[in-house]
């Protein structure tokens, strides 16, 4: 080994990455070279002295806050997935909902007179009244059955007739129809969701104020719909509306009772945003309870705590 190789060998030795052979050569060289010995000693002393700085330890506060931030970030990434679908696709779906809903609504309320029934044969009881069947009527859910021993048969079916209702969102008829769809008519979660999306797009702060019927239908959906996705959508739609005691109360119920954490989180977001504008004792109390509830989901707990921090009491 030569003197010019000292630096590299010294670093290898300090970092524990010197090969046994190179180590022996280094030892042999510094035993014979006082200058390199002095250099190596100085380097080793400097290296050792760095050990006088003991490893700092993380405080409990660092750990707590770090985990809290992670929960918030995971939550944020999850919430992103609830983005509404592209507008055009959504509009087509919403139109389909309106059409289907209109059918049920008007079929129920505007029945045309029944066509003349055939003359009953002598001695035989008359058939049940025939419903109005227009040219575009659709029969669904057909069933057949024998009725008693008289040889009569029963034919069961649902009748739907397509109607289209057009009007501005502010039109009371349109608003009433939408509330009807939300509260009763939509039969499955998909239809209910799309109806809510339609409401969300056309009603709320900055657009048409939602009618009391629509608000009532949405708060009812938030409280009672069996599908968590639909309840979440109802929460999203309500979050865009001006806060009222009725809406706040529905959100507080959702925060306390909803089984789905995403719905509870939506409730926290909306309640916290409203409380920042106008502090509400029930909201603050509910958030405090959630923030320390050991049985609560970690995301929900962290979000409640973080919402409280952003408020000024």
């Amino acid at each position: 080994m030569e003197c010019r190789e000292l630096n590299e060998r010294a670093v290898d030795r300090l970092t524990g990455q010197i090969s046994p052979e190179a180590g022996r050569e280094l030892e042999a060289h510094v035993a014979a070279c006082a200058a390199c010995r002095a250099e190596l000693d100085a380097a080793e002393r400097a290296w050792e002295f760095l050990g006088e700085d003991p490893d700092p330890e993380g405080t409990p506060e660092f750990r707590r806050r770090g985990l809290e931030l992670l929960e918030e970030e995971m939550l944020r990434l999850r919430v992103r997935r609830f983005r509404p679908k592209p507008r055009l696709r959504w509009a087509a779906q919403a139109a389909a909902v309106l059409l289907a809903a209109g059918a049920g609504y008007f079929a129920a309320s505007r029945r045309a007179p029944a066509p003349p029934a055939p003359a009953p044969s002598a001695g035989a009881p008359a058939a049940s009244p025939m419903p109005a069947l227009g040219s575009d009527a659709r029969l669904s859910n057909l069933s057949y059955q024998s009725v008693g021993a008289s040889g009569r048969i029963g034919i069961g079916f649902d009748v739907t007739t397509r109607h289209t209702v057009e009007g501005s969102p502010a039109d009371p008829e349109v608003a009433r129809l939408l509330a009807y769809v939300l509260s009763r008519s939509a039969e499955n979660a998909g239809e209910r969701s799309r109806a809510i999306e339609l409401v969300q797009q056309h009603y709320g702060a900055g657009v048409t104020p939602a009618s009391p019927d629509i608000v009532a239908a949405l708060t009812n959906t938030l409280r009672k719909d069996p599908n968590p996705g639909v309840r979440k959508k109802a929460a999203d739609a309500l979050s865009g509306m001006p806060m009222t005691p009725e809406i706040r109360s529905a959100f507080l119920d959702a925060l306390r009772n909803d089984r789905n954490p995403a719905v509870r989180l939506a409730a926290i977001e909306t309640l916290a945003a409203a409380a920042k504008e106008s502090p509400d004792p029930r909201t603050i109390q509910s958030l405090r309870e959630k923030a320390v509830d050991p049985s609560e989901n970690g995301f929900v707990r962290a979000r409640a705590a973080s919402a409280l921090k952003t408020m000024e009491f």
């Binding site: 630096n7 970092t15 100085a42 002393r45 760095l50 700092p56 995971m74």
Partner: protein, 176 residues
């Protein structure tokens, strides 16, 4: 964690946060800032979990993100590193006298001052080698440089430290 599992993220934090905090603390010489940057690193990691290709050790991947985060933070701050020694958690005295505790504190301060005087590149390589025991190849991966460059940076860092101590730092002299 890549599947969005919150428990996976928490486990990752529990396992690696202490080492990353030691790393960022020595790079930034500011405990509060180091805690903040370390927490940010894990938040970034969650968002970038899909980018981890498994070729490097998880620890190396985290160190690389942390080193970048420290550089970004220092660029933003544009101020010389300080050594707020009072912010360091004080080790337990364990019955030692006050004098002993003060000497240890002085030594720590001296080390931090010395580290703060190294260039950013030298400090990164030195800290990874000296305090985290990473082999050259791993340090090279973390810092995105060659193994030769790693050795050069460590060597220059050691040279700077030797020169500093030979000038007579009181704490250095006290320790030797």
């Amino acid at each position: 964690m890549r599947r969005g599992d919150p428990e996976g993220a928490a486990a990752l934090f529990e396992r690696y946060a202490p080492a990353l905090l030691r790393f960022t603390d020595r790079l930034l010489s500011d405990r509060g800032l180091a805690e903040e940057v370390t927490q940010e690193v894990f938040v970034k990691v969650i968002a970038r979990a899909h980018q981890y290709d498994g070729r490097a050790e998880v620890a190396s991947w985290l160190f690389a993100i942390a080193a970048n985060a420290c550089r970004d933070r220092r660029r933003k701050d544009r101020r010389a590193p300080v050594v707020p020694i009072d912010a360091f958690p004080e080790p337990a005295a364990r019955g030692d006298g006050v004098e002993r505790v003060l000497i240890e504190k002085e030594k720590r301060e001296a080390v931090r001052r010395a580290l703060a005087e190294l260039s950013e590149e030298q400090r990164e390589a030195l800290v990874l080698a000296r305090y985290h025991g990473l082999p050259y190849a791993e340090i090279a991966r973390v810092l995105g440089i060659s193994v030769g460059a790693v050795k050069t940076r460590i060597f220059r860092a050691v040279e700077t430290l030797k020169a500093r101590f030979s000038e007579g730092d009181a704490s250095w002299n006290a320790a030797n």
